[in-house]
């Protein structure tokens, strides 16, 4: 009998656990450890944040699903890894701290044969003074955050109906953020909802981003064939903003957020201020702060995790200039180089470098997007890692399944306004996610597999995906047939 532990029940961890259970014999244990009792379909948090969905509509309770599928669930957070065991026990173990009310604060060690670290990110609001819920800005990173954002948004609308003007600031709250696409989705949905509520003329909307150009999205932008031209995503995004009357501030780092004003620093214009009545600013991410210890209790965190807190995997982490970045820099198997029974999946793995060109200010401070690795790639990595572990338990000495972001495509549907007849969404595919300028010298991507368009069909697809992925998360009959 073997035991596979999965830390985290987000898109990557939940996918990995579900496939492990499907592929492993019943005698093998699959154990999921997650501090939250629910799975959150995060892409739909955008609609919670503008008051179109309730948070319960994007959450799925994990315990009954795991009970039905013979997956053991412990509502707890992982604290430390002991990949070599300890002096009294050579088995690899992880120390957890329960978050379930009945056992809150209790700690225990659990042995494992294989472990998948799919803990996702720590939302590092502390990186910017005054950033985040409970301070001076809002977020849609979790369902609770999105619900609070919705409440504030709806409170703004009432005085606007009486003629008051309001200023909205939306974007990323630090120079090193990722998920610019989510912030973009939120700002256009907010604009759409203000129009739907007939108060658009009372709103001044500003988008603040660390992207060098709009449409970079942390993936060095995308080129699309349209109207006889190969056109960069910058053009499409600028067009959308011009059409919607949304002002943008690019190349920006938010130095601090005070009540009703954000202090910005941009690569080209120095310091400025952005006043607001409501600000939704996403935080930068770090690893969740897991520690690792050797057999004698020595701290080996540096051997297992990068300084960012994300886990080191099959990557050469030597620093290289942008011109030397190659697709082969990106991990294929997500296996720890130090411990072969340890894997990372989703956001939890440490990327070799950004995808977008790294840019810094005069003081060397980075103001450019970190690489996104959420959603579809995250799930595909979880599935590939699960497959490799199943094969290794079956006798293989090495991981058998790869999921390099430089070799996979991704599909993304970004809502631009939710209404079954007047709504729109941008449907985008890219192949590969990490541009490969050796194979595709012009744009880094295969133009036959990279496309995008905005329209009502995209909104219908977004609705379809919302229901389809929640169905899949519930592991209902036929769930495995639904692509990641």
């Amino acid at each position: 009998m073997s035991r596979v532990l999965v830390l985290g029940a987000g898109i990557s961890g939940h996918t990995a656990a579900a496939f492990l259970r499907k592929w492993l014999p019943e005698r093998d244990e699959v154990v999921v450890i997650s501090p939250q009792p629910e799975y959150n379909w995060i892409p739909s948090n955008i609609w919670v944040g503008v008051g179109l969905l309730r948070k319960e509509q994007v959450l799925v309770s994990l315990a009954p699903i795991y009970q039905r599928h013979q997956i053991e669930f412990k509502q707890a957070r992982a604290v430390a890894l002991f990949p070599e065991g300890d002096e009294g026990n050579p088995e690899s173990t992880v120390e957890i701290e329960w978050t379930l009310d009945a056992k809150r604060g209790q700690r225990e060690k659990i042995a494992y044969d294989f472990l998948i670290n799919a803990t996702g990110p720590k939302l590092n609001f502390d990186a910017t003074t005054g950033l985040g819920p409970g301070k001076n800005s809002l977020s849609v990173c979790t369902a609770d955050h999105a619900e609070e954002t919705s409440r504030v948004f709806l409170e703004m609308v009432e005085p606007m109906k009486r003629g008051e003007k309001k200023r909205f600031l939306v974007g990323v709250g630090h120079g090193g953020c990722t998920c610019e696409g989510a912030a973009l989705e939120y700002v256009v949905n907010l604009e759409f909802e203000l129009r739907a509520r007939k108060v658009r003329d009372k709103a001044e909307i500003t988008f603040v981003t660390n992207e060098y150009e709009l449409g970079d999205l942390g993936i060095d932008g995308v080129h699309i064939r349209r109207g006889g031209y190969v056109t960069p995503s910058k053009i499409f995004t600028e067009s959308l903003f011009a059409e919607r009357g949304i002002r943008s501030i690019t190349k920006a780092h938010v130095r601090g957020v005070e009540p009703n004003v954000a202090h910005l620093e941009t690569l080209d214009q120095g310091n400025s201020e952005a006043p607001f009545d409501m600000a939704m600013l996403l935080p930068p991410f770090t690893g969740v702060g897991l520690k690792a210890f050797g057999r004698k209790g020595d701290d080996i965190t540096g051997a297992v995790f990068a300084p960012s807190g994300f886990m080191k995997v099959d990557v050469d982490y030597a620093k290289k200039p942008y011109a030397e970045w190659k697709p082969r820099d990106w991990p294929r198997h997500y296996q720890s180089p130090a411990y072969p029974n340890l894997f990372a999946a989703g956001i939890a793995f440490a990327p070799p470098h950004p995808i977008s060109q790294l840019r810094t200010n005069a003081d060397g401070f980075m103001i450019s997007p970190a690489p996104p690795r959420t959603g579809m790639p995250s799930a595909m990595i979880g599935k590939a890692v699960a497959h490799s572990i199943v094969d290794m338990l079956g006798g293989s000495n090495v991981p058998t399944h790869a999921a390099s972001m430089a070799e996979m495509g991704a599909a993304c549907v970004a809502s631009a306004g939710a209404n079954p007849f007047t709504g729109t969404a941008a449907s985008i595919t890219v192949f590969p996610i990490v541009p490969d300028y050796e194979r595709y010298p012009e744009t880094g991507r295969d133009m036959n597999y990279t496309f995008g368009e905005i329209g009502l069909a995209g909104h219908w697809i977004k609705i379809l995906l919302h229901h389809m992925f929640l169905y899949k998360a519930r592991l209902r009959p036929g769930w495995a047939l639904i692509p990641e």
């Binding site: 903003f241 011009a242 949304i246 595909m380 497959h387 007849f421 009502l456 697809i461 692509p483």
Partner: protein
């Protein structure tokens, strides 16, 4: 920057300097974006395209 370029556009919040040089959709393009028969066709086409693109990535070996 001239006064003209700092005037807001009709939507009231974006300086002219930002929208003057941006590509803007024609009325025909905006119409097609929500024209039901066209969008029904695009729904089928985009789904087919996405399945074709994500298919190879799911083999994963």
């Amino acid at each position: 920057m001239s006064a003209l370029l700092t005037q807001p556009n009709a939507k009231g919040s974006i300086p002219k300097s930002e929208w003057l040089y941006a590509t803007k959709p024609t009325r025909w393009t905006l119409f097609l974006r929500t024209f039901l028969p066209w969008q029904a066709w695009r729904f089928v086409w985009i789904n087919a395209k996405m399945i074709k693109i994500i298919g190879p990535g799911h083999s994963g070996r």
